[in-house]
Symmetry: C2
Subunit: 468 residues, 2 copies
Amino acid sequence: MFRPLQTLAGGLIAALAVTAAHAKPLSQEDLSVAEVLRDRALESSDAYSIVESLTVEVGPRPTGSEGDRRAVAWAQEKMKKLGFDRVYTEQIEVPRWNRGHAHARVVAPFPQPLVVSSLGFSVSTPEEGLTAEIVPFADVEELIEAPAEKVEGKIAFINKRMERTRTGEGYGPAVQGRSRGMRAAAGKKAAALMIRSVGTDSDRFAHTGMMRIKDVENPVPALALSAPDANLLEKMLERGKPVEVQLDVHNQQLEDGPSFNVIGEITGREKPEEALIIGAHLDSWDEGTGALDDGAGVGVVLETARMIAELPQRPRRTLRVVLFGAEEIGLVGAKQYVQAHRSELDNIVAVSESDFGADKVWRFDTRLPESKFDIADQMMQLLAPLGIERGNNETHGGPDGSVFVAQGVPAFGLYQDGTDYFDYHHTPNDTLDKVDPENLKQNVAAWVVMSFLTVEMEGDLGRVPTEH
Amino acid sequence: MFRPLQTLAGGLIAALAVTAAHAKPLSQEDLSVAEVLRDRALESSDAYSIVESLTVEVGPRPTGSEGDRRAVAWAQEKMKKLGFDRVYTEQIEVPRWNRGHAHARVVAPFPQPLVVSSLGFSVSTPEEGLTAEIVPFADVEELIEAPAEKVEGKIAFINKRMERTRTGEGYGPAVQGRSRGMRAAAGKKAAALMIRSVGTDSDRFAHTGMMRIKDVENPVPALALSAPDANLLEKMLERGKPVEVQLDVHNQQLEDGPSFNVIGEITGREKPEEALIIGAHLDSWDEGTGALDDGAGVGVVLETARMIAELPQRPRRTLRVVLFGAEEIGLVGAKQYVQAHRSELDNIVAVSESDFGADKVWRFDTRLPESKFDIADQMMQLLAPLGIERGNNETHGGPDGSVFVAQGVPAFGLYQDGTDYFDYHHTPNDTLDKVDPENLKQNVAAWVVMSFLTVEMEGDLGRVPTEH
């Protein structure tokens, strides 16, 4: 909960007085406007309607699909309605894949069906399916180290659990099996790969997601199992008899095709060539409606821009909203954006992406030169009353943002509480009802503070040395 | 949480002294044994292992299926292992139906897939599917009252929400659409029926369940939509354009076939012909593994019997565990049991079924003649410390139990907290992980008190006037 706005305002006036006395980089006037925007966002911002519109009127929008094309049209129309000065698309070239069906069932010793989902770009089984014994592995490393004869002809089953955390840091270790498991299984001539879903829920949904497929010779079908189904296989294996599973998987590998980054700008009044990029990704996985991933981000950044567009004057520099394409299959839109705009990267004052669900923002990370830390400190005066803590200076600015950060672009990270995010991530259960409109208001409040102050400030944020 | 056992014991000794002074129907010796059984159940009962065994080694067991046959074999073997004196089956004749597939998608104005599940015994669509506009109704009554021309050729969509309650009393009003909707839709020549799932969750699972299909002429396909999908249709309808849905449903109507009630007895030492029936149902719906519905009940009553079988002597009268077949499709096993044993019903001292999930028991209802209320009061001395309140005298003894109650058989109802039960009921998500082993121990503790005292007491429970 937020402290009452009256109390807030009192505290802020004192804080702003101190700020002015020390000649900090952000002006008291800008901070006052940001404060008004923040409080207006808490009262009346409506990112939720945008998420509703996207999920209801478009729905699933996997890269390069018909849904993706409709999302691109939707985004342009929405940006125009919201008062952007310039709306345009940039074409990208994307790998494409169509999910067909994935059926799995234990055939021995205890016949019963399993709930599975193909991982992104999984190949199919033979038409008649395949049946093989499963061999369990604690994690992908154990599979990589296993002798090939233990795996050949079998279904490798990576049974790694993901830890639930507020930061989502359990994802990194858990996702290894999904990223690298299929290559390891294919290298040992496994019949297929199955992984315990990379997720924190105990619902009977499999979590899909991307694999590293580049240069994998003779790829094999790769599936995620829901957590209850992974438990079931565990319990069957404990009973000591070979567990045989039948798989019937059909997917389509398609030719590469076009998709788009959709870009909208509030044009700067003084330095229009300089821009803050705030982003989200427009594509989603195909089984849910992409409300949390990343409809919420789309709603937050569009609503943030709308609020700034409504101000009596345009901000000093440009606010550029980029709705990236093809994030889910490897940050393809962001990579092609950076490639296409390499010569203009110095004009990007900072980047930030909202792509971690729809819970409240609780932490403000940055990636700034040390000389600019006082800007973040000033922003914190307005963010702290939203329940936001100052984090570290190591943000990558979100998944797509990281491609910019790798080129030295400064970044902000307004991180949502991710405790529940991986309950829904990449499942059919990622739907609108998981989004709380009030939480989105708090998100917009934080984003509008960071965004307005960045596009309005006199100075800039410099460059950040890249890690190499 | 329970009070420490030491405190309990102190309280009980005082309570038992009072009991003895008033010459209550249950002896202090019996109450003392029941107390020991209760406390042992809290420490060491293991109903969970039974639920695990059933869900892992058998899994889904819809009436008359291969899974049902394996469940019947499993149950007999388990009863023998647990030390029952007599284990037998009684064949019943059951309607049978095989779920095929059910695919639904909005084709206009906003194409996207929907998550649906056929209701039990739904017919199929034509091979090529069907496409029709949806017409929403607040509840089944509104559909029944609608003019036929509003419904003919359309997909009737009953969008009734279920209220979440501890007692499950929201189920009755909500289930009307499922029970009676298809008949109403068919009578008006609808193309199909879709209902918002009868459930309290907001997960993307449809809740299946039985319909009243008897004497419905020209039945139409009938589907449940997950709550998020019902919301989605609602939001689409709000946008004012006709919403067209394509359905592709295939199921198999089979000939009637055999199933079984599985019965195990701990034979009474003095009055073996008199029996308390404690029951659960062995069949489940096909999409989950039937952990909550009704694996938990099976675990609780089998473990209760096991504990009584372990006592140094057999109880005064028989404890009969009946695992009913075909509960889900209309209490078929219970009805045929009562039919087959009509002449012996006077020997059934009482009936009770555990079929409301796996949460803690919180209420003790009865159906006893008023002259026997002091027996329930004495039981309450041992139940109250488990956190159980005295309820009313109107229990039906559980779904299958109600068939006995209708014939005047007294009944007990040990009701679990049902707040979350309908989050999982009849979905693929009804899996073992939803069962808390500690809660099952509390269930067994309550059941063993009620069961032991009933089979051991000197007197009987009389008969209860039937409601007609």
